[in-house]
Amino acid sequence: MLSKKLESFSERNSTLAPLIEQLDSYLTWLVEHNVTEVIPRVAAAKLGISEADALALLGLFLEAGLVKPRYDLVCTVTKSVLGSYYSRDEIPDDAECRLCDRQHDADELRVELVFEIVKGRAANAAA
């Protein structure tokens, strides 16, 4: 079931309402399968839209307090997550990778944006 904020948005923008409902169903499905985060790229593929459009829709869910953005700093060599940050300003300029056993700079690091599904929603889905 959509939150009040999303419902009012869907009423104002009828063309986007089906996409919002699809994304909401997808989030519910993820929670039911014990997945606590949504990757915009994957959500975009699921909905058949571009990643930027999926981000735009996730922005609505963010405003409604249903998801929370998180930045994962990934080593491009080993594809391992070196750290997770809730603010862009917290992302360091370089990071040490234990698998590579060396310090990486921006050329070997990638920041991936994921959205954590907030716990309240997870509890509602489980109930």
Partner: protein
């Protein structure tokens, strides 16, 4: 029987990190050394904004720009030091001030003074608009340079030619 090359062994073994690939960017460039993961993120945000598959729904366009600006900081860091909104906030009062100066001159000064003041005001307005477009990332540095130098060239040539005529 030939032995496998060392390079092939390291590529097959996922535990062994592969050798550093040659970078596309020029290592002598001082700006490439200063890059941070946040810059990469902002650049990726710009790529997302320019994706050809993006929807043209006006509401989705607005939401897309807002969220990417907020989470990727794409507007400020990628290539444009000034956001289009900020440029508008600066340009509109500046143009209004130039228009007011021109109107004030028309009411209080002679026609000759009015014409010269208005000409200078128009020239300033054009330069200002060009600079703002460049700062917003809507115009390349080369085009900006050409436009500015072209404008100055025309003005200087005109004044240069008009002076001897006046003296004659």
């Amino acid at each position: 029987m030939q032995l496998p090359k060392k390079k092939e062994i390291s590529e097959d073994n996922p535990l062994q990190p592969p050798k550093k690939r040659p970078q596309k960017k020029n290592p002598a460039d001082p700006q490439s050394k200063k890059r941070t993961p946040k810059d990469n993120l902002a650049e990726y945000g710009m790529q997302l904004l320019n994706d050809a598959e993006n929807s043209r729904n006006p509401e989705l366009v607005r939401l897309r720009i807002e969220i990417i600006d907020k989470l990727f900081d794409a507007h400020l860091k990628a290539s444009a030091p000034v956001s289009p909104r900020m440029a508008l906030y600066i340009t509109i009062p500046a143009l209004a001030a130039l228009a007011l100066i021109s109107i004030y001159t028309a009411m209080t000064q002679t026609q000759a003074v009015y014409i010269s003041v208005t000409s200078v005001a128009i020239l300033f307005a054009l330069i200002f608009i060009v600079f703002m477009l460049a700062l917003c990332g809507k115009m390349s540095d080369t085009v900006t340079g050409k436009l500015i130098s072209g404008m100055f060239e025309k003005v200087v040539t005109r004044f240069w030619k008009s002076k001897p005529r006046d003296e004659e």
